[in-house]
Amino acid sequence: MMRPIMLKGHGRPLTQVKFNREGDILISVAKDSEASVWYSSNGERLGTLNGHSGAIWSLDISPETDLVVTGSADFTARLWKTMTGECIHKWDQDAPVKRVEFSPDGSKILIVTEQAMGQKGKIFVYDIDYTKNEQSTTPILEIVNEDSSAEKFSVAGWSYGGFYIIAGHASGKISKYDAKTGELLNSVQGHEQLITDVQFASDRSYFITSSKDQTANMYSVDTFDQLKHYSADVPLNTACITPVKEFVILGGGQDARNVTTTAASEGKFEARFYHKIFEEEIGRVKGHFGPLNYVAIHPKGLCFASGGEDGFVRLHHFHKSYFDFLYDVEKTALATQHSTIDA
């Protein structure tokens, strides 16, 4: 592992960091109402997106990196031009916006709103028109949580082809909705506590969920079978699946109220690498002195970024040994594969 690049641009805890499709741009949002845009190669800041008047909970970048969407506690989701940093549209909501995400083709966005202040938790889908600034303010789909607030949506994301919306609930339940009709297709009680993150593999055919119950699970989008299970010893805030290598990265840490003792290591504020297939922990990356709120992986698996409660983004570029690392079983499997090809 090379020396990490510290991105110091936020004064408050980070909430989300994301790479664009090419991986050259990194955007981070935090509880200080400002999004920062960085070069991923050297950590230089290009600029900021200013306009929100509350904590920004979430962001996403369109496939061509031309647009950025952000969701904030100020009851709005906003659309920005990446090139200029200009806010071109604002969707007003009745509750804080917890999560935003572009569909894989970039033609739609989904917005998850908080169940609070008498409002039901909802997922909205809006069309995005790249030809003009002004966007439609009528959602093409609205999924409402009719159950108690314990079942409210915490996170959501798009499956492959934008066919389904996968949502995580505060109760630990995971649901699959048809992205056209909003019909509930499947749901499993995957975790015992709040689901903190859902991130997809690069082809979006499977995804990983992280939960406060200290575990992360991996599911197939089609069958909704639990493929893998990873257990940690701290509440997890985030999890992602690495391309190129068969790993997953989990992040989290002891909640601030439980960390009363001195050393930073007590809270276990580390990014943990697990082998995706064997479910075994293979390494940890230390550095943050608060829980990790989000980890994001470069689309080509070259580096990963973590945003911490401590207000920093740490950008780690992988070393050769990371790419060389293989279990013996994997090496043998590769060798047999090669020999069959050669023959």
């Binding site: 492959y160 082809d203 499977y206 197939s220 068969e246 297939i277 064997f278 013996d328 079983v329 994997e330």
Partner: protein
């Protein structure tokens, strides 16, 4: 009357038409105030002439008035004499019950003992046919085998078991060193409502439930017995696993005699209100119950155990204010010599953990049962530690002590020495210091060795089966910084007699050491400025783990070897001017940090040490770690909600001294065998792991192939996305500064 037919209809009957008079007369209660429950019959009263009958009536009336308000007394007189019985009416059945309870069996004088029964009972049992004449044999429950209680000792590789308690689950496992421990039984959820505990020799495992204690044992840990003691909090055992002691804050309440629950209740009427129970482990029956001494009744923290046992389970004793009560277990737990021993001001007592061989004990004699106790200074007496022999109650030795604030007694486990940690104060009572008074019980006249120290000793521990001991002490000066390390570790050994021997060798004929020479203890190594506060000697001696646990931010464990066998130049220098004065070879082995550590326990063989962090204390790094005796950690498991760890104790070895010698001689051969087994086991585990990984990898590759094909069908993966990227490199030139220089 209406005949009942198939078309019977209740509403067809006019109730007023039915004549109930026959039933009414049958069940009518003529005198509702006559209630037999209010009456008791008293037999065994003196037979008095008619003239003295009123006098007797008055005396007995007074007696019965203690139980309740006597409404009427009837004493039949026949032929000018009373008949020796009378009937007493009370106000209500409660009072009648109380009279039976308190006055039945009451001795009036030498000749007369009152027998008090309820009138209703007389009716119940006194009439013919109410009690069958023939003896009906009570049903004896069929014998049910629980398997061999010591089955775990038959393990071919001689492994040890341990118990893990996490969240609501308890499991018993085989220790497999660094490998995943093997289930001895399937872990059970909700096995206990509080904690679990092994008996002292490991035969039983005990669990608590709200209504009492259960014992489990045998290969599969089947339930053996239940000991019903509602609200039980604390449990303890006699050293030979014959008896169980339980304490509950709820007083025992006996259901009234006529209540159906009475027959289920194992306690006798005298146990009413008692809180402390001794049980027979084999029969599962209570053998003795006690009320708490009044001085403990209101205390929130309970000294435990309240009952201490002699090494052979023959006697047990409990302390009361100014008295020591010793019970003989062979004599149905009756007081030894029928009375407690008066000991003014007794503060604490300890039994010798083994039989004591005095210098007068002959080789084939049973060793003696001893106990020690101490009493504080009183107006005309110094503070004292006394050693008493049982069952003679003879005091063999007393030590007089002055200016004493506290005494703690530490028996060496073989009963060879008794160390008294005497905390003393200066005359001004401002500062404290400790004296160690060590009584040698094997020697003639029980000599006492006195060590006067400048510090206060907090912890003291004898080396098991040895003569060395270790203390943790600190200087009693007001330290401005409470977090400063102020603990002092001191290691003591006896002075080598050999030195004297070589000196005295010149004297012809005086070569050998005299057997009766009193031993002299020397502090041979002192380590200052420590945080340490707990001592854990290995059960086999030689190794000691010293930990800093309580209130310490950096919990750590230090491992020391007192008989280091490695290269002589690695032995640490000791404090004495002549290192030959003692035979110990001191070496610090390791020093490990163990975050969150709350408890430590040695495995019975002394090879491993378990340290754990219990969620009962805090939530930091709950789980357990296993160390070798030299302080190398070989297994670590972090378990959320981890509660307790316990090694299963082992009974004493049955091997003779010669057998042990033989094993020691051939140790290398045995070791080789076991190492081979270990290696094979490890190989098997590794093989299994590799196979598992292989399977997982295959499954994954297959699943991925399927998914990719599916996505391709949907046209979501196009080969073009793998097309080469175009890298545009932009070179920007920025002029940072421009200066003009004029060149002449």
């Amino acid at each position: 009357m209406v005949e009942s037919t198939a078309t019977f209809n209740e509403s067809d009957i006019d109730i007023s038409q039915i004549d109930f008079s026959d039933l009414e007369s049958q069940y009518q209660i003529n005198e509702p105030e006559l209630n037999f429950d209010n009456y008791v019959v008293c037999d065994g009263a003196p037979i008095a002439p008619e003239s003295k009958a009123p006098m007797l009536k008055k005396v007995l009336g007074k007696l019965f008035n203690q139980a309740g308000k006597v409404i009427d007394m009837y004493m039949p007189i026949e032929d000018g004499k009373s008949k020796g019985y009378l009937i007493i009416e009370f106000e209500n059945p409660l009072q009648a019950n109380k009279a039976v309870k308190s006055l039945n069996g009451k001795k009036l004088d030498v000749k007369h003992t009152l027998l008090v029964n309820k009138l209703s009972d007389v009716e119940k049992y006194g009439f013919e046919d109410n009690v069958k004449d023939e003896f009906e044999e009570p049903h004896v429950e069929d014998y049910h085998s629980h398997g061999y209680l010591k089955s775990w000792l038959l393990d071919p590789s001689g492994r040890d078991q341990f118990m893990l308690h996490y969240n609501d689950t308890v499991g018993v496992f085989w220790n497999k060193k660094d490998l995943q421990p093997e289930d001895a039984i399937e872990p059970r959820a909700h096995w206990t409502s509080a904690f679990m505990k092994f008996s002292p020799k490991g035969s039983y495992l005990f669990s608590l439930f709200p209504h009492g204690v259960q014992s489990w044992g045998g290969e599969k840990f089947d339930r053996i017995k239940r000991f019903l003691h509602p609200g039980v909090r604390l449990i303890d055992f006699s050293p030979n696993e014959n008896y169980l002691v339980t304490l509950s804050p709820e007083p025992i309440s006996i259901p009234p005699d006529n209540h159906p629950a009475r027959s289920q209740c194992l306690f006798s009427n005298e146990s009413e209100g008692h809180k402390l129970v001794i049980w027979d482990l084999q029969s599962g029956l209570p053998v003795r119950t006690f009320a708490l001494p009044p001085n403990l009744e209101k205390q929130t923290t309970m000294p435990w155990p309240l009952i201490k046992w002699s090494y052979d389970d023959k006697y047990c004793a409990r302390m009361g204010p100014d008295a020591l009560a010793i019970y003989s277990t062979n004599d149905e737990f009756q007081l030894l010599d029928k009375k407690p021993i008066k000991i003014e001001g007794i503060q604490d007592f300890e039994f010798s953990p083994s039989g004591v061989r005095l210098s007068t004990t002959r080789k084939n004699d049973e060793p003696e049962i001893m106990l020690s106790y101490w009493t504080p200074e009183s107006t005309n007496q110094s503070a004292r530690v006394s050693i008493m022999q049982l069952p003679t109650k003879q005091i063999l030795r007393t030590i007089n002590l002055f200016q004493v604030s506290n005494v703690k007694m530490f028996w060496q486990d073989e009963g060879k020495y008794l160390a008294c940690k005497v905390d003393r104060h200066t005359k001004s009572k401002k500062t404290q210091f400790t004296n160690l008074e060590i009584i040698q019980l094997n020697e003639k006249d029980l000599p006492v060795e006195k060590l006067e120290l400048k510090e206060v000793v907090n912890n003291f521990q004898w080396e098991p089966k040895g003569y060395r001991f270790v203390t943790i002490s600190h200087l009693d000066i007001a330290n401005p910084n409470p977090s400063a390390p102020d603990s002092i570790l001191t290691f003591y050994d006896i002075e080598n007699q050999k030195v004297k021997q070589t000196q005295s060798r010149k004297v012809p004929g005086g070569g050998l050491i005299s057997v009766n020479a009193t031993k002299k203890w020397l502090p041979f190594k002192t380590i200052k400025d420590k945080h340490s506060n707990e001592l854990y000697f290995s059960p086999r001696g030689r190794f000691i783990a010293i930990a800093s646990i309580k209130g310490s931010a950096n919990t750590k464990i230090e491992f020391y070897d007192l008989d280091y066998e490695g290269e002589p130049d690695k032995i640490e220098k000791i404090d004495l001017d002549n290192s030959n004065k003692v035979s110990s070879k001191f070496k610090t082995l390791n020093d490990v940090e163990h975050r969150g550590l709350t408890n430590l326990q040695w495995e019975p063989s002394g090879r491993f040490l378990a340290g754990w962090s219990s969620s009962w204390k805090h939530k930091i790094e709950n789980g357990y770690k296993l160390y070798t005796m030299v302080g190398k950690m070989f297994r670590e498991e972090l378990i959320d909600g981890f509660k307790e760890f316990e090694w299963r104790p082992r009974p004493d070895s049955l091997l003779s001294v010669n057998d042990k010698k033989k094993i020691k001689k051939n140790l290398k051969e045995y070791a080789a065998q076991f190492e081979e087994l270990d290696a094979m086991e490890a190989d098997a585990e590794l093989r299994e792991l590799i196979l598992k990984r292989k399977r997982l990898l295959q499954e994954w590759t297959a699943w991925r192939k399927e998914t990719v094909e599916h996505l391709k069908e949907l046209g979501l993966i196009n080969e073009e996305s793998h097309a080469k990227e175009e890298v545009i490199e932009e070179i920007k030139e920025v002029i940072l500064e421009e200066t003009e220089e004029v060149v002449n």
